[in-house]
């Protein structure tokens, strides 16, 4: 392994120290580099321990990426095996937006579309007035409720410091672009984190399109069929890989939907530590490799909390254990977590996952059919 040069490491460290100069507790800021306020229960000590090691990793990776990207002069990243490996080990902040755009197909979509497509969507409401009203209403309802503790979102839509207006625009544009999906709660968190990281609203829009149109199963459709199937997939996989955990879930009657639907709908935003690195590291792989990594991340969380779950003495305990994932120090160590993702969840082939998803989707469609039959039967009698 090539060690990072000391000067490069020092400059990275200096950058982070500078970022946290204001408003600090000890040496760490009360606000993280992405603008999230660190809560009162934030474990500064554990984070400092992790960060001091992770900065070295970051520095090392940055050198390698600099070389591959020819110090940023390289125009386009081709999604090949090397880039895949690089993405798994984390994309440095300075390249993240660009690489996401390239490897996800978002840039291709943007180039293929008519010129100023995003802008046009914003200027041209859907002709169906009811659709427009519902779309706008539902998005506006969530604006103030999206990251209310983040400095980029808490100032209200009229503040020019706030990204709320961009958030409204991206979600509205997406709803108009994909009227059968429209707006689904949860997209707000994804778009908001994209805005924090990628910054340019138009690119964020295209990344959101790439995710929802191409990369993810049908999580956000009206029936949320993809999400509901995914919950059964997790059930099946945990039964196979961590049977003792599934036994606990069965005994205490905790459906995976209760603990894990947010993981998938929000792509782990606000699930794994708010210190956004873990989420971003999952996304680095998600944009390149697709939604399988979400299953891996979910299984990896379960792997990490397994001992805690096994010692639970009731349903509330189990639910709390999964809630505490956001404070779990093992999961905070994003580098270790991502390594575990690709080791502890094996074997997990694409073909097997595809089969599992199809099987469960079919099961749920059948259930829905039975449910609506029951509805139809009971209606005339009323």
């Amino acid at each position: 392994m090539i060690m990072a040069s000391t000067s490069n490491m020092n400059s990275l460290k200096a950058k982070y120290t500078q970022a946290v100069k204001q408003n600090t507790v000890g040496t760490l800021s009360k606000v993280d580099p992405y603008g999230f306020e660190r809560g009162n229960d934030f474990d500064y000590k554990a984070f400092e321990n992790f960060e001091s090691e992770y900065l070295a990793v970051l520095a090392r990776r940055t050198i390698k990426w600099d070389k591959m990207m020819k110090n940023g002069t390289k125009r386009k990243v081709k999604p090949d095996r090397v880039v895949k490996r690089f993405c798994r080990k984390g994309i440095p902040e300075r390249y993240r937006a660009r690489v996401w755009m390239d490897v996800s197909g978002a840039r291709k979509k943007m180039k293929k579309s008519q010129k100023n497509f995003y802008q046009t969507l914003l200027e041209q409401p859907n002709q169906d007035a009811d659709f427009e009203e519902e779309l706008t209403e539902s998005i506006k309802t969530d604006l103030d409720r999206t990251f209310p503790d983040n400095i980029h979102f808490k100032n209200g839509i009229d503040s020019n410091k706030s990204k709320q207006k961009d958030l409204l625009n991206i979600l509205t544009a997406f709803g108009r672009h994909s009227p059968t999906i429209g707006y689904c709660q949860g997209m707000n968190y994804i778009a908001a984190l994209l805005l924090i990281v990628v910054k340019d609203p138009e690119q964020c829009f295209w990344l959101l399109c790439a995710l929802i149109d191409d990369i993810l199963p049908a999580y956000y459709t009206k029936s949320m069929i993809g999400l509901r199937a995914e919950m059964n997939v997790i059930d099946d996989l945990v039964r196979e890989k961590f049977p003792e955990v599934q036994q606990k879930m069965d005994v205490y009657k905790v459906p995976w939907t209760l603990v894990a639907s947010k993981w998938f709908v929000c792509l782990f935003v606000d699930v794994v530590p708010t210190e956004a690195w873990t989420v971003l590291r999952v996304w680095d792989c998600l944009f390149f490799e697709g939604s399988k990594v979400l299953i891996r991340a979910a299984l990896c969380i379960i792997y990490n909390v397994k001992p805690a779950v096994l010692s639970c003495k009731g349903m509330p305990d189990v639910v709390q254990t999964f809630k505490d994932v956001s404070k779990n120090s093992a999961i905070l160590d994003c580098h270790l977590f991502m390594q575990q993702c690709f080791i502890e969840t094996n074997p997990l082939t694409r073909a097997d996952l595809k089969k599992l998803r199809e099987k469960n989707r079919k099961l749920i469609e059948e259930e829905d059919e039975k449910y609506s039959q029951k509805q139809r039967k009971s209606r005339p009698s009323r």
Partner: protein, 217 residues
């Protein structure tokens, strides 16, 4: 905060039975379901409560004359499309609070459809309460109190106008539900839930909600 979690309504020590009930909150997006729960369980209120994705789960205990009632509260996402997940949440529930926003007529209409669905699909003896939330905003009222009260009477629902913000009637509505729930072991819907009406000193485990009544955290 002005109002902490529920007070024990009398000084009687909770010697009697301990009963556990599943309670689900349903209603349109942003009517204040999570805020009602947060007020009831933690005595807090956030002006900008993050939207609930999927569902959330909390517990809280209230004491009646001779019974301790432990609520397992399932708080759900309000947006229409999350409806497809709802049956899983209200399945086996012994109580439900259907919430609407008194400043928004549409949310009242939506509440009525939830009531219908519960009457048709949930356990037959489920105790349903209707909560007209945001009563502190009565200057923007769009849903008439008497109309909602009459609707509740017709449908056998408990009804209160609540405010998660000021804590008005929040504990009361949960207490009213606790009063109305059957406490005998064989009681009604309790039958299909092994945890119902059971002594939870076995099941409480490491949950730090020790003791009773408002010792939540």
């Amino acid at each position: 905060m002005a109002s902490r979690a529920p007070q024990r309504p009398n000084n009687a020590s909770p010697q009697g039975k301990i009963c556990q009930f599943k309670l689900v909150l349903l209603g349109e997006s942003a009517v204040g379901k999570s805020s009602l729960v947060l007020r009831f369980v933690k005595g807090q209120f956030h002006e900008y409560q993050e939207s609930t994705i999927g569902a959330a789960f909390l517990t809280q205990t209230v004491c009646l004359q001779d019974t301790t009632v432990k609520f397992e509260i399932w708080d759900t996402a309000g947006q229409e499309r999350y409806h497809s997940l709802a049956p899983m949440y209200y399945r086996g529930a012994q109580a439900a609070i259907v919430v609407y926003d008194i400043t928004n007529q549409d949310t009242f209409a939506r509440a009525k459809t939830w009531v219908k669905e519960l009457q048709r699909q949930a356990s037959p003896n489920i105790v349903i309460a209707l909560a007209g939330n945001k009563s502190d905003l009565s200057n923007k009222r769009m849903v008439d109190h008497d109309e909602a009260a009459a609707y509740s009477d017709e449908n056998g629902l408990l009804f209160m106008e609540t405010s998660a913000k000021t804590a008005m009637h929040v504990n009361d509505i949960f207490l009213a539900i606790a009063e109305k729930l059957p406490k005998n072991d064989a009681g009604g819907t309790a039958a299909n839930r092994p945890t119902s009406g059971v002594d939870i000193t076995q099941g409480g485990g490491s949950n730090p909600q020790g003791g009773c009544c408002g010792r939540s955290q």
